[in-house]
Amino acid sequence: MPKVRTTPDLILVVVTVILVIIGSMMVYSASAVWAEYRFQDPYFFLKRQLIFVGVGLAAMFVTVQVDYWRLKQIAHIILWICFGLLVIVLIPGVGLVRGGAQSWLGVGAFSIQPSEFMKLAMILFLAKYVSENQKYITSWKKGLLPVLSLVFIAFGLIMLQPDLGTGAVMVFTCVLIIFVAGARISHFMFLAGIGAIGFVGLIVSAPYRLQRITSFLDPWQDPLGSGFQIIQSLFAIAPGGILGLGFGHSRQKYFYLPEPQTDFIFAILAEELGFVGGTFVLLCFAVLLWRGLRIALHAPDLFGTLFATGIIGMIAIQVMINIGVVIGLMPVTGITLPLLSYGGSSLTLMLTTIGVLLNISRHIR
């Protein structure tokens, strides 16, 4: 393995920092009213977010220094630990229930979401496994089936919480890795068929999901029930117009849009900064995707390529699902917007992961 390191991808660094700054500003603006009401301190969430930014950037600086192939060696261990945590979080009384899902482990502010870690662990493991067994990738039995079984088990555990958003991001990311690794298109067709059947199965098992789906198509059908969040989100975005109401001038953050600093932060951003601000953020993420895929393309080995693909794919998919929900293109799922949403584990993990991506960029050919 080459030991020569160049400078990391500076564009990626700059865009990441820009997004984190915009995120912190918007966390403050979106949360100030709620923070004032709840904690009598408008800076309550901002202060915490800035601490997470600090911790996340520190972690990023560490991972930038750690050569990425070292992670290969602990991929198995991390995966097994994450599987363990996913099981533990389901034990009644151990996992913490928040927002109707038993997704958290720990105490108060010092709690983590095992599914978030599983997402990354699975990317790491898949990148390693597929890169080592690329010759079997075109085979169904030897290549795809074992890999997909593993992903399916992890997805199943996550859906027991249930956390559809995180589960979906993980599955889509894994599919992307396999796709890039060179799996057959016909296999994907087959998988798509299975996916469709599974999708129908999920809806049959929990009909509220169907309501969520129809509600995003016509939220005014049930404005106080399943359509409520979409409507409140659109009520924020639409008045923003081209230039927005101005920073701090959101109206929907006045208790209309629930917890505007987390999943729906993009709605407040579009309200205050308008189409221009929203497009700027989308462009930043597009640039992020471009730089990430460029790193994957020029990575020194297939592991690096697939690992980078997984990391940037995860970020892009999560962005698309989150913003897709906020602007009414997708049913409500409930995941954060990478780098912008308030949330300790989400932000620090994201920055740590981008650090890994940056490390790969230091070795590109």
Partner: protein, 645 residues
């Protein structure tokens, strides 16, 4: 490790990038669609969510007489509104409010903590004085608003009250014109809206939006305030003199259907309508009451007979023995012993019942009833007021000779005063039945421009111009020589007809309890006004229309025509003098004559002489004016100036 399929990996990475860019582009497109294309539509819905409206009442349109005199207007009377969720310290706010508005602390606290977006304080905080409102403003309490509001004010009190009606606490019309034209008068309320957060509190940093109310339109009536004043005065006087159960007066322009004045007793003050029983303010008697018209109805019979050529007033004669027999019943004339032999003109003058029975018989029931319906009886006149009566006519199939006979002189039918006025107007105006109306013009409150003007509505032509002229002449005779002498006004050529109707209760006529009425018009050559007066059960008098109602109509006509600046006429039918009448004589020209000369002329006047001298220099009244015999003429004497001075 060898990278066997790197080309594939490379292709797929590029494919991924392109797919990602496409997806991001779709998202930008969607953002554009929501924020720019659908922006306004969705924003409007959002505004409804955020906005809380503090209403601003519209000013109710004023009601004016035909010359612009104000009959109903508004005075500012602000109302207090509470937005409980904006109140920071409910206990303190309740305490302060209770002091200023003098309501109990408990009630105040209940209002400021009520779980509603906007609360009114009724009645303590409703339509209060400006002074009180200022005190509330000075409290500077969050969540307490002083909203502009108005109270209806009727500057002339009892005046025209049944017609005007009144408006309630929400400025909504409740009776009369206020109710009938509520839609136009009330306007559209405006509001100040502030942005509210999801917890109902005021959103900071956002300006309130004010959408101004659209004030109601001003209503200009056909009513002439001076005519109405005369009517009110005459009814007050009639009430004082006769202490009747009720009284009605109605004046209309016969050539257009414009109501010039309308009133009835008992009256009420619209601002204190609670002081009288509901039937007083709910019943506008000139349009609501239905009763036997009595002899005034004979005008209809007369009109029908003339139009059909059944009678020649001058040449046809009739002998009245004091009664007439109709299918075995003796129908009596009001005059014992009858009127003897008379022309039909005298039949009309004398209001001779048997004579009209003969006219009715000549017409036959079909023709008579056709004319009755033609003149508008049995249907609403269509005046712009609610609660109009239709009247009751005999079912034509059930009409036998007896019913025909009584109908001909005005018994056994039931009509409203307004129907009679409209019908008589048609009889004397050349034959056109007009739809009576009150709303003459609608005026824009801002520009003062006329938005809408009511044109007279002719419902139908009932009789010919020639017939109408004959009726005018016959009715002038009634006033000059017959039963209507009480209504005579010198120079104004009053025509008219008396009416005395027995009141019926439970199907029987009451003893000594009549509605006495008179319907008159003037001048007979070119009528400008029709006046109807009815007095219900006048006390301490003979209950005859000619005695009670005719003089009132005469007074109203005389003063109204003078107010309307209608010139006096030269050629009138002179009044036939009664034993207590003094004749009207023309004042002679005395100027230049000597006292001795005057005394030798035996004038029927007394003289009041002033000044010293041989010749009359000035006199009062001036020559040519008509005054009663025996009146005094003042003359000023002096010496004729020598030519050389």
């Amino acid at each position: 490790m060898k990278r066997v399929s790197f080309v594939t990996v490379r292709k797929r990475l590029i494919f991924t990038l392109i797919a990602g860019v496409i997806l991001f582009t779709i998202m930008m497109g969607r953002l554009w669609y929501v924020q720019v294309v659908m922006g306004d539509e969705i924003s409007e819905k959002a505004e409804d969510l955020w906005g809380r409206n503090i209403p601003f009442e519209a000013k109710r349109g004023e009601i004016l007489d035909r010359h612009g005199e104000v009959l109903a207007t508004n005075v500012t009377a602000p109302s207090i509104l509470v937005v409980p969720r904006q109140i920071k310290d409910p206990a303190e706010a309740a305490e302060q409010l209770s002091e200023v508005l003098s309501l109990s602390k408990e009630k105040a606290y209940e209002k400021v903590t009520k779980n509603e977006s906007i609360v009114r304080i009724n009645p303590e905080g409703r339509k209060i004085t400006n002074d009180l409102a200022n005190q509330v403003r000075l409290l500077k309490l969050d969540g307490i608003y002083v909203a502009e509001d108005y109270r209806r004010h009727y500057p002339k009190g009892d005046y025209l009250s049944h017609v005007l009606g009144f408006a309630g606490i929400d400025n909504q019309g409740l009776t009369g014109l206020e109710l009938f034209y509520d839609e136009f008068l009330s306007g559209e309320p405006g509001h100040v809206s502030f942005y509210s957060d999801a917890k109902g509190r005021r959103m900071p940093n956002l300006a309130d939006r004010y959408s101004p109310p659209v004030d109601g339109q001003h209503l200009k009536l056909s009513v002439d305030a001076s005519v109405q004043t005369i009517i009110e005065r005459e009814l007050d006087e009639a009430e004082a003199v006769y202490n009747p159960d009720g009284a009605i007066a109605l004046a209309m322009n016969p050539n257009t259907g414009e109501i010039l004045g309308m009133s009835s007793r008992p009256g009420f003050n619209p601002e204190h309508f609670q002081d009288v029983p509901p039937e007083v303010y709910n019943q506008n008697k000139p349009i609501w009451s239905q009763y036997e018209p009595g002899s005034t109805f004979k005008i209809i019979t007369l009109a029908a007979a003339l139009e059909e050529g059944k009678v020649d007033l001058e040449r046809d004669n009739f002998h009245d023995p004091g009664y007439i027999e109709v299918s075995g019943h003796k129908l009596r004339c009001w005059k014992k012993g009858g009127h003897g032999s008379q022309t039909f003109l005298e039949v009309v003058q004398n209001s001779c019942n048997p004579g009209f029975v003969v006219l009715g018989e000549k017409l036959g029931k079909e023709k008579l009833f056709n004319y009755i319906r033609g003149f508008g009886f049995g249907e609403e006149t269509g005046i712009d007021l609610q609660g109009e009566g239709k009247g009751i006519l005999f079912d034509e199939d059930a009409v036998g000779p007896l019913e025909l006979a009584t109908t001909a002189f005005g018994q056994g039918v039931s009509v409203t005063p307004l129907q009679q006025v409209a019908a008589v107007s048609a009889a004397i105006n050349g034959g056109n039945l007009y739809q009576p109306f009150l709303a003459k013009e609608w005026i824009d409150p801002l520009t003062g421009q006329t938005l809408m003007a009511q044109e007279p509505v002719v419902k139908r032509k009932v009789i010919s111009e020639e017939t109408s002229a004959q009726i005018r002449s016959a009715l002038e005779h009634v006033v000059a020589k017959g039963t209507g002498k009480g209504a005579f006004v010198d120079g104004y050529r009053v025509g008219g007809k008396t009416g005395t109707a027995q009141k019926a209760k439970d199907g029987r006529y009451l003893e000594n309890n009549h509605i006495v009425s008179f319907i008159g018009f003037a001048p007979a050559d070119e009528p400008e006004i029709v006046v109807y007066v009815a007095v219900d059960n006048p006390k301490d008098t003979l209950q005859f229309g000619g005695i009670v109602a005719a003089p009132i109509v005469g007074n109203i006509i005389e003063d109204s025509l003078r107010a309307m600046e209608v010139p006096k006429r030269e050629d009138q039918i002179e009044k036939e003098l009664m034993w207590n009448d003094t004749p009207l004589l023309e004042v002679p020209d005395l100027i230049g004559r000597t006292v001795r000369d005057i005394h030798e002329s035996y004038y029927d006047f007394s003289l009041e002489v002033e000044g010293e001298g041989d010749e009359v220099l000035l006199q009062s009244p001036e020559p040519g004016i008509r005054i009663h015999a025996g009146s005094t003429i003042r003359i000023y004497m002096g010496d004729k100036s020598p030519p050389d001075q």
